[in-house]
């Protein structure tokens, strides 16, 4: 019996080699100078303008796409689960969501370029039938706004996949109990449904946020290196030490883990709160 742990030793060795050690190396490196002495300089150096702006743009794209995806995803999931629509809608939506949430990376960038790029289908159709070019209004797909729009494509289905089970947990009896006590639909939503769903909603939004924050392939294929987001900056740093400071590169990575780690921790905490009601 005392040798039972040997059965999980390969897994822990794997985790050590490919998760713990690599992350630990970057963590330690963020607090060292080039000679290996302890320093906080790398962290302080993160606050130079181009790095701060990279983090800032990344935070904005992630937050906007998470909120946009969460709002649209919520209405979609709500419509499919509780909206009183035909039965086939829900399984169809779930299948499509499974596909769309996995259709990310480089091909997604191609799809949006072909649709909303300068010669894309929607752009061309709008010129032809509505008589105006969205690019003349200042719209450009290769900007923060365009990237947000593209990210929302995989954020919506992700939200649907996370939220649909939670909406199942909203019990019909609650609605009946509320209406027997004289509550209007609005009151039911405001005082019963929303408080129950809110932790789950917020938690899922944080998960979408972290999901977008660590993404690079779509952004890189869409904008090349013209949009200064933190993953693209880190990519350039790994390729060619553009910051001219290896340890600053480690700190850049450490900052990313800190942000995704915090939002995931908050997600787990919120999820445990929402599970109290949604059993």
């Amino acid at each position: 019996m005392s040798w039972a742990w040997l059965g999980v030793a390969p897994f822990f060795l794997f985790a050590l080699m490919f998760l713990i050690l690599p992350t630990g190396f970057l963590f330690v490196g963020s607090f060292q100078d080039a000679d290996g002495n302890f320093t906080l300089n790398n962290i302080a150096n993160l606050f130079q303008p181009n790095i701060v702006s990279a983090y800032w743009i990344s935070l904005k794209v992630s937050a906007y796409s998470a909120i946009g995806g969460a709002v649209i995803g919520f209405f979609l999931a709500y419509a499919a689960v509780l909206g009183g629509l035909p039965r086939w809608i829900r399984p169809t939506l779930m299948t499509f969501s499974g596909v769309a949430s996995n259709f990310a990376g480089v091909p997604l960038a191609f799809a949006f370029l072909a649709t909303l790029g300068r010669t894309g289908l929607v752009t061309a159709l709008m010129v032809k039938y509505l008589g105006f070019n969205i690019y003349s209004t200042g719209f450009n797909l290769l900007t923060m706004f365009g990237l947000t729009l593209t990210y929302i494509y995989f954020q919506i289905p992700l939200m649907v996949l996370i939220l649909a089970p939670a909406l199942d947990g909203l019990k019909r009896e609650w609605r009946e109990a509320a209406s027997i006590l004289g509550a209007t639909g609005t009151q039911f939503w405001l005082y019963v449904a929303l408080p129950v769903l809110l932790p789950g909603l917020l938690g899922a939004t944080l998960l979408l946020f972290a999901n977008a924050f660590g993404a690079i392939a779509t952004a890189y294929a869409l904008t090349g290196s013209s949009l200064n987001i933190v993953t693209i900056l880190l990519y350039a740093q790994i390729r060619g030490d553009v910051l001219h400071d290896q340890n600053l590169g480690y700190a850049l990575a450490f900052g990313m883990i800190l942000i995704t780690g915090l939002s995931n921790a908050a997600y787990i905490w919120l999820r445990s709160r929402s599970e109290r009601w949604l059993r």
Binding site: A4, G7, V8, P10, F11, F12, F14, A15, F18, L19, P22, T23, F25, L26, I72, L76, Y78, A79, A80, G83, G84, L85, L93, T95, V99, A100, N102, F103, G105, V106, P107, F110, A111, L113, A114, T115, L116, L121, V122, I152, Y153, I156, N211, F213, G214, I216, A217, Y220, A221, T231, L234, Y235, I238, R239, A253, M256, I257, T260, G261, N264
Partner: protein, 263 residues
């Protein structure tokens, strides 16, 4: 009631448009290669490109090896946790979620520093070794999905009784694992496998930074240099994703009839 149903339809229609319009746009764009008429020439060019064939083959092999290694790593672990070490479950679960927390680009940065050619384990020293490192990094990326799929499968069967029955018939550990447990969680393993395939086949970040000739970096290269071929490639990638997700559904449903408790 009627009012709210209209709202539901609007939500579904908006969602469907967001999902379908880019696909229609991409498909239309991919047909535009010849001036003035629609043709499949972009697809012909892409499919005939030896770099397409090589990189697609490379990523397919990577995905298959990743799946085999991932199952060999996760299935015995999850089985053993269930049977003997339930107290370790939260720790193992936490570890399997880490790849969702630590961005892929950060992980591969760490690999490049720890396993570079002058380190104690030079996994970037030769192309074969780097292929292996890339495979390990894909196993890491797919860990959350693979673990959860297999764990769900194991929970649905009575691991303890099956193990004891097999033991009392004199089965060895390997026999129990591969001839008793594995067939019972085949469906769960398959759904983890197809998800892994969908993740690995177009993965860009790790393959690009480890400098391996995978499909993801090839897509990026074509995207930077050609006009209509990328749209054709996006449609092909979309079909592959569809196939993977569809197969998960097919196997999930098919198995429900034959062995009800593997769901």
């Amino acid at each position: 009631m009627k009012h709210s149903r209209i709202g539901s339809w609007i939500a579904i229609i908006v969602g469907a448009l967001y999902f379908l319009v880019p696909l229609i746009g991409t498909f239309e764009f991919s047909l535009r290669l010849r001036r003035g008429e629609y043709s499949f020439e972009a697809y012909e060019i892409v499919l005939a490109d030896p770099r397409f064939q090589q990189s697609f083959l490379y990523s397919t092999i990577q995905a298959l090896v990743t799946i085999v290694f991932g199952v060999l790593l996760v299935l015995p672990t999850a089985y053993w946790i269930q049977l003997r070490l339930p107290r370790l479950r939260p720790i193992v679960e936490f570890i399997t979620l880490l790849p969702l927390v630590i961005p892929a680009i950060v992980l591969v940065f760490g690999y490049l520093r720890i396993y570079n050619s002058s380190s104690w384990l030079p996994m970037t020293g030769s192309p074969r070794a780097t292929d292996m490192l890339l495979m390990f990094s894909y196993v890491t990326l797919s860990l959350p999905y693979m673990y959860r799929a297999i764990e769900t499968g194991l929970r649905a069967i009575d691991v303890r009784t099956l193990t004891e029955a097999a033991e009392s018939l004199g089965a060895s550990r390997a026999t129990i694992m591969f001839r008793v447990i594995f067939p019972n969680v085949r469906v769960a393993v398959l759904s983890g496998a197809f998800l892994t395939f969908a993740i690995v086949i177009g993965e860009f970040t790790m393959a690009s930074l480890l400098d391996r000739p995978a499909f993801g970096p090839y897509l990026q290269l074509i995207g930077a240099n050609r006009a209509y071929e990328p749209a054709a490639l996006a449609i092909i990638a979309f079909i592959v994703t569809w196939a993977c997700m569809g197969l998960i559904q097919v196997f999930g449903h098919g198995a429900r009839g034959s062995t009800p408790d593997t769901r």
